[in-house]
Amino acid sequence: MLEIRGLSAAIEDKPILQGIDLTVPQGEVHAIMGPNGSGKSTLAYVLSGRDDYAVTAGSVTFDGRDLLAMAPEERAAAGLFLAFQYPVELPGVGNANFLRTALNALRRSRGDSELDAVQFLRLARAETKRLAMPEDMLRRNVNVGFSGGEKKRNEVLQMAILRPRLAILDETDSGLDIDALRIVADGVNALRGPDFSALVITHYQRLLEYIVPDRVHVLAGGRIVRSGGPELAHELEAKGYAGMLTEAA
């Protein structure tokens, strides 16, 4: 479903990604781990189409389509979702209004009928309840005045409502206490199935105890230096990045 071949990218002429090869088959959850500055967030932004980054080499296909040629909103319409590491505040924009506008934009682009306010609220309330989030989350302005944990949970709520085919979670676990971490993990696990894939970017192994990945990749210096099963995360935890990178070198 997601095929990354020799992907290199730079920001302001500074190379960050240096030839990434990665395949995420449909229905699988892959984890990307790596030390700070290894290029994890850059990968997430390049895949979702943020234009501060210049792709200097390589290709990315998503369901056989050239992902890099698509505008961010086209990628979203194709089913790609990014849970932001730092979710953005939109003052004055109600969460429910924002989500309904987004959901209807996606539905329109897929030729589905739009949901009216009543239909949408029924759906949104059910998802809010399922994720054990307070209902006033929908009434509040997008991420305004949210705590760090609330922002991350709001990302998961959006994901649950927008139902992506591929979710990229960019350090969604950072800054979360153990209860919030469980909620986030439950949100992802609830979506798991043959039509859902995920790329879980994390610094720590902790999240992967709750979201057990099919594959784990270690990113360092802009390249994937090792790939393996879930046990790779445990090995990393034991040896630390420094230990593993020495071995890999």
Binding site: P72, A76, V88, L90, G92, A102, L103
Partner: protein, 495 residues
């Protein structure tokens, strides 16, 4: 190219095509010769069959105006205005002040229909029982076409409630005592250059009187349309809410697209007595000129309300999207103890538009309160200035003001400026001022687009969010119109 740059391009691509009210009505006009002198003023006065006192009042204003010079303290620039090169009177060739819609030129009715203004009193005039069509959201409309009022709807229903709503020229004839008692008492003829000019040559506008204890049964609305070439529009509106009365009044404006600049210099006076309340809402969409700044309306307007009675309240809400130049400071003079003044404003400027707008809150009575919320949105190469005065006089013990001025920039060729003047002469008064300036950030745009919104939808959502505090003050029907207008003003592809 960054998201903001793309947005900027989108915004800059707005040209005349975005202004969908720019057509012209072919109609035979009665035009006064160009130029301004005592004879022209006498002509206007006689066309309107005015009493002698009003002609004298006009001539006095004109004499004062001749001694005055055009003000240049605002942050706007324009070529010199030739006041002798304008027609000061333009009326569709028909007897002004028709008694019913049937007497109105059908071409005019079609004009207002095309503008989406419901002059739907036809049914009532045709003898349908008013009770059967009442309820729901009714709006009584006074339509002003160039210099004259062409139709006022729902008069009978209003009359039953004791509310007077008619063209001011008619009020001069039918209710001279009221007009004479209040006209020029809030904005004196000598107030400023444009107010003096208006006093000399005003041609029409709306008059509202709500008697003691009456809550006006429907929204009142005036729709202003400039049509004729080389004309100025100088309307005069006077609204009086007697003790305990309430009225909500809406004002909308459009004009054809032309490559000449047209002058609009209106005066609006509001008076509230004890416990009375006036809510005055404006959606101003005069033609803003094209992308290069050719044409557009020069909007030099004086709006002021006097809270004369205790516990009375005047609330101004404005959405300003049009005009090449906006020079406008709807103000409140808070005489009555515990009286309240409010100003909620959204001003959008795009392309080469210039807006210098804000308010004045003058606290005189004890415990008077005022609230100012101003949202300025600048795009293209426009300049948007908030200019506001809060003045607390020595006797205004316990006066309070809260001012919040927020500016939103789209792109980096536009300007936002905040010029607050605060004069407090009572130590017990509390005056607060907050101001912010922000840009639509790249990360906000990217966040929205990642969720599937197009750039235009994203700008729309962010701008509407930014203006929410003000838009929620508008009556429902107007709020919807205003939201659409914001989209059109900023986006180009819509409309």
């Amino acid at each position: 190219m960054s998201a903001a740059t793309q947005t900027l391009d989108t915004v800059q691509s707005v040209t005349q095509s975005g202004y969908k009210w720019g057509w012209e009505t072919e109609i035979e006009m009665d035009l006064a010769p160009k130029g301004l002198n005592e004879d022209i003023i006498r002509l206007i006065s006689s066309r309107k069959e005015e009493p002698a006192w009003l002609l004298e009042w006009r001539l006095k204003a004109f004499a004062g105006w001749q001694q005055m010079t055009e003000p240049h303290w605002a942050r706007v620039e324009h070529a010199p205005i030739d006041y002798q090169d304008l027609h000061y009177y333009a009326a569709p060739k028909r007897k002004p002040g028709p008694k019913s819609l049937d007497e109105v030129d059908p071409e005019l009715l079609r004009t207002y229909e095309k503008l989406g203004i419901p002059l739907k009193e036809r049914a009532i005039l045709a003898g349908v029982d008013p009770a059967s069509i009442e309820g729901g959201s009714q709006v009584a409309v006074d339509a002003v076409f160039d210099s004259v009022s062409v139709a006022t709807t729902f008069r009978e229903t209003l009359k039953k409630a004791g509310v007077i709503f008619c063209p001011i020229s008619e009020a001069v004839r039918d209710h001279p005592e009221l007009v004479q008692q209040y006209l020029g008492t809030v904005v004196p003829t000598s107030d400023n250059f444009f107010a003096a000019l208006n006093s000399a040559v005003f041609t029409d506008g709306s008059f509202v009187y709500v008697p003691k204890g009456v809550r006006c049964p429907m929204e009142l609305s005036t729709y202003f349309r400039i049509n004729a070439r080389s004309t100025g529009q100088f309307e005069r509106t006077l609204i009086i809410a007697d003790a305990g009365a309430y009225v909500s009044y809406l004002e909308g404006c459009t004009a054809p697209m032309r490559d000449e600049n047209q002058l609009h210099a209106a005066v609006v006076e509001l008076v509230t007595h004890d416990d009375a309340q006036i809510k005055y809402s404006t959606v101003q969409n005069w033609y803003p000129g094209d992308a290069e700044g050719r044409g557009g309306i020069y909007n030099f307007v004086t709006k002021r309300g006097a809270c004369r009675g205790a516990r009375s309240k005047i609330s101004w809400t404005q959405v300003e999207t049009g005009s090449a130049i906006t020079w406008k400071y709807p103000s409140c003079v808070l005489h009555g103890d515990d009286s309240v003044g409010e100003f909620y404003s959204v001003a959008v400027t795009n392309n080469r538009q210039q807006a210098d707008t804000g308010t004045k809150m003058v606290h005189i009575g004890k415990r008077t309160k005022s609230t100012i919320v101003s949202k300025g949105i600048s795009a293209g190469r426009s300049n948007n200035t908030y200019r506001g005065l809060v003045r607390v006089l020595p006797q205004a013990a316990g006066a309070r003001n809260h001012t919040q001025c927020d500016s939103l920039l789209i792109g980096d060729c536009c300007g936002a400026h905040t010029v607050p003047y605060i004069e407090s002469r009572n130590p017990t008064a509390k005056v607060e001022h907050e101001a912010t300036t922000s840009k639509i950030a790249d990360d906000q745009m990217f966040y929205c687009r990642q969720r599937g919104l197009t750039e235009e939808d994203a700008v729309n959502l962010i701008v509407n969010g930014f203006c929410k505090e003000v838009l929620k003050e508008l009556p429902m029907e107007f709020a919807v119109e205003a939201q659409k207008l914001l989209a059109v003003s900023l986006e180009g592809s819509v409309g």
